[in-house]
Every structure is written in structure tokens, then in C-alpha cells.
Amino acid sequence: MGQVEAHSAPGAQRAADDKAPEPALIEAAHVTAGYDNRREHTRLIALRDVSLQVRPGEFLAIVGPSGCGKTTFINLIAGFVKPIEGSVRVRGSEVTGPGADRAMVFQDYALLPWRTVERNIRFAMENRRGHVPKSEQAGRVAQALELVGLTGFEKSYPHELSGGMRQRVGIARALVTEPEILLMDEPFGAVDAMTREAMQAELEKIIAETRQTVVFITHSIDEAILLADRIVVISKRPGTIREVIDVDLPRPRFDEQADVQRSPRFGEIRSHLWSLLADEALGAKQEGASR
């Protein structure tokens, strides 16, 4: 327990001030973000003064209570949302909108239902930005499908597939253009528990192969520990970084021999995260009750 804290405290400060040996791939500096409600002339602040650096090749998980601004953070990196204050930079240049260097995997898959698996994956290659020559597309689709274990399903429609398989298509679509950064917004939130575990193991394998930088939002503490190199805990709204935790568990973590989930270190990180989040959840509840 003590070790965990030594690794991470005080997380937010460290992430902002530390000059890492490698330049950060994604850098959020004092970001405040929110949404305007034009009808009521109010502004909801989702994130306040968040500073964070993501290193190249890192798997970063973000956890926090519902409505803490996790999704806002990933939307900032994706370029859907612009910060009210502060800046988000990718490779040193400010994010002004979506770009070919960042792909996203959506919680609800966001596949085009009228397109087959193959044509859904092609969608990432046929548009104005990030266009891949037609002659190259078929080979890339085959490669991506093999990566996610869906070879043979080229002609299936999304509605013919299970939730887990749909998300494999979502992952294949995101990986097919080989973006530097993979943004995943609770990608396994809508699949059943068994499939979820299998998908986590496969994601670890895939990322080990493709070496993407991943920003991964999840509700699940176990999922975060099993997948991430670092875990960012965000406090209840307005979200601030509560703590950044290094997950120093050996990889591959889904190896049956290693049995990481039963190692004492896993237990330590887990209970530490648990108490942090319980704190947040309790705080959120009390605030809700007093309102």
C-alpha cells in the first residue's frame, strides 16, 4: 500500500512538472472544459485544471465516478470538445479537431449498420482525411480482421454479430490506418462479463503487436489494472486528477501461468484504487443528498 503511494503521490503535480526523458505524445496543460447550456445560460464544468502527459507507447487508463468528465477528457484529445482554458497538444501541436493520428473505439461500437464488416473497416480509409489508396485497402482490411480474429466475417452485417464481435470490428476499424493514438471510451462496457475478459486479453495481445499509445476509459478497476501502465483517478465533477498510479505488474498479464490477478501486488493496487473511488463515490452521494 505504502509503495503505491510512493509511486504516485502527488500524481497531478508530477505529471505536469516532471520533465520526462521522452517528450510526451499527448500533453494536457491546465485544461478546463465543459458544456454550455444555451437555454439556461449556464456552463457545466466537467474538468477543472487538468494537467497530464501521455508518453508514446503508453497504455493509460482513466477511472472515476460516473459523470466525472472521463469522456470529456477523451473527447478533448479526439478534438470533439475544445478546452475553455488550457491546451491539449499532440506531438507538440494543438488539437483543433479530429485527426488521422488519433482513432477512436466507441462504447456503442458506432458501426454503420448498412455496411458489411469489410466496408465498415474501409470507411476509415476512404474519406478525405487519412485516405488510403484503393489498391491497398483490401490487404489492410484482411490484416486488421486477422488481428482481431474476425477473418471470414467480411460480408457479415453488424446486426448479425454478437456485441463482442461488433467491438472487434470497431477495434479493427480504428487500427486499420495505424494511428499513433488509440482512444477507447469504455469499449467493453456493453459486452457481457465472459466476453469482456476474453476481449481484454486480446486487446493486450493486439497492442503488444501494434504498439499504439492507448487512452482507455473504464468503470472497472480490474480492467484498468490488467490493461494499463498507468491509471489516472479522476475525482467527481468538476473532475480533477486525484491521483496517478503506476501499474508495475509484469506483462503479459493474461498469461495463465503468471496469474497476475492473484498476485499480492495486484491486490494492493486494487484495494488502493478501491478506497480512492469509494471516497469519490461517497463524496458524490453526500453532495447529491445535501442538494
Binding site: 470533439f80 479537431g97 462504447q107 449498420p113 470507411f123 480474429g149 471470414g152 448479425e160 454478437s162
Partner: protein, 278 residues
């Protein structure tokens, strides 16, 4: 990985199976419909023969079929039927050509929606019959009046549905378009329009239903002297019950045929939509 493959085969089997089931179900459905209709007409015939109801209002089924056959043979029905049918199809085509783009525009542009929606909603909810005196005043008893009432009946449901389609596009699909490099026009072309297609089709479906009402109103009240409405009117005036029923049957067949054609179109234009579940 083995799990993937197992899961994969399972889904494949289900696919093949479900095709078998649906083919069998279709044959069964046709058989049921044939038996069903036969029983209906037999009961009709028996009830009419028992003369429980005055034969003046309720002819035998066989008399109705005879009227239908003779009407086609002596050329009283066909000109009216083709007049109605062609009028209706032209009216529907005009409604689609106007209604679909305007509806899409209203869905896509807040300004267009703001400007047009009061008129569209007023016209959608106003009973069409109310317009007949005005239309007769403007256009007289001719064909153009009949056509206009069809268009005014069909165009607004089409418009409203297309607008709803654009407005209900899943936000995550639009986001996916943005993430994967689509420009604004590409998002419209590749995400929003295909998403809206089923709405367009159900709009046209409602347009058919409303348009048929408009067609009959125009022919019954417009007094143009042609069309199935005129046939109904004449048969009623002459106490020709078999002809009256024959015309009603024709109308029913016409509307069922049009709706079925649209369902076929829907299945082929939007195969990803599971019609049987809806």
C-alpha cells in the same frame, strides 16, 4: 482465440437456419392467406344467401365477383382504375420529389426548420377535406385539382419523416465519421443519408395511405366524373351494390399492393433492418 472461432461458427449456423425458417414461414403464410380469404368469401356468400341483411346493401360474393368481371369486360372499370392509379402515382412522385429534399433540409438546417415548420405542421394536421372548396374555386373540377389534393395529402408525412430521420441520427455515428476523416459532405452522404433511408421509406408509406384518402376525396367531392371515387359514387346512386363492393375490393387491393411494394422496397433498400421484428 478458440472462443472466437466457436462463437463465429455458432453465429454462422444461426444465419443458415434462420433463412430456412423464413422461407418455410413465407409458404405457410401464403397458404394461410389463401384459406383465410376463401373462408371469408364463402361466409360472405352464405350470409348474403340467408338474406339476414337487405340484399340492397349486401349482395352475394358471387354477384360482386360477377360485377367485377363484367365491369372489366365491358370497359366500365378499367378507364376509371387507370385514371385513379396514374393520377395517384404521379401525385406520389411529385410528393416524393418535393417532400424528401425539403424534409432532409429541415432536418439538417436549423434555420430551414425554424422557417418552414409552422407551415409544415399546420398542413400536416389540417384535415385535407377542408381544402376542397378552395381548390375547386381555384382549379375547377379538373384533373389538376385531383392531383393537387393527392400531393397535399402525401407530401407532408413524407417531409416530416425525412426530417425526423435526419434529426435522430445516432450522434456516435456522426462522431465516427469525424474521427475517421469524413468531411462534412461525406458525413451527409455516407452517414446521415443512409441512416435516414428507412425513415424516407416509412414517410412514403404514410404518404401512400394519406394520398389514397386524398385521391378518393378529390374524386368523390371534386365531381370530375372519373376515377374509382366516381365509380363508387355512381354505383351508390344507382343502388348497384355489387358494383359498389367490387370497387371497394379494387381499392383495397390497390392499397395493399402499394404498401406491399413499399415493404419489398424497404427490405431491399435496407437489408440491415430486421423488418420481421419491427
Amino acid at each position: 482465440m478458440t472462443e472466437t472461432i466457436q462463437g463465429a461458427t455458432r453465429t454462422n449456423d444461426q444465419q443458415i437456419e434462420s433463412i430456412h425458417v423464413s422461407r418455410f414461414a413465407r409458404l405457410k403464410n401464403v397458404a394461410i392467406t389463401v384459406v383465410n380469404l376463401t373462408i371469408f368469401f364463402v361466409i360472405w356468400e352464405l350470409v348474403a344467401r340467408a338474406e339476414v341483411i337487405n340484399a340492397l346493401f349486401f349482395p352475394r360474393a358471387t354477384e360482386m365477383f360477377a360485377a367485377l368481371f363484367n365491369g372489366f369486360a365491358d370497359g366500365t372499370i378499367w378507364p376509371q382504375l387507370s385514371h385513379s392509379l396514374s393520377n395517384f402515382l404521379i401525385g406520389l412522385a411529385i410528393s416524393a420529389v418535393i417532400g424528401i429534399p425539403v424534409g432532409l433540409l429541415m432536418g439538417a438546417s436549423k434555420v430551414a426548420d425554424l422557417i418552414l415548420s409552422p407551415y409544415v405542421w399546420a398542413m400536416t394536421s389540417l384535415p385535407r377535406v377542408a381544402l376542397i372548396p378552395l381548390l375547386i374555386l381555384i382549379m375547377g373540377f379538373g384533373n389538376s385539382m385531383q392531383l393537387t389534393i393527392i400531393v397535399l395529402s402525401a407530401v407532408f408525412p413524407i417531409m416530416v419523416n425525412c426530417m425526423a430521420g435526419v434529426k435522430t441520427v445516432e450522434p456516435s455515428l456522426v462522431r465516427a465519421g469525424e474521427v475517421f476523416g469524413a468531411s462534412r459532405p461525406q458525413i451527409y452522404l455516407k452517414v446521415i443519408l443512409p441512416y435516414t433511408l428507412p425513415f424516407v421509406i416509412s414517410g412514403v408509406n404514410q404518404g401512400i395511405a394519406r394520398g389514397l384518402v386524398g385521391m378518393l376525396i378529390g374524386e368523390l367531392l371534386g365531381g370530375g366524373g372519373n376515377g374509382l371515387g366516381f365509380l363508387l359514387d355512381k354505383a351508390g346512386e344507382q343502388f348497384d351494390a355489387p358494383m359498389l363492393y367490387a370497387t371497394l375490393i379494387l381499392l383495397a387491393v390497390m392499397s395493399v399492393g402499394l404498401v406491399q411494394a413499399m415493404r419489398w422496397l424497404e427490405q431491399h433498400a435496407a437489408p440491415w433492418r430486421d423488418i420481421s421484428r419491427a
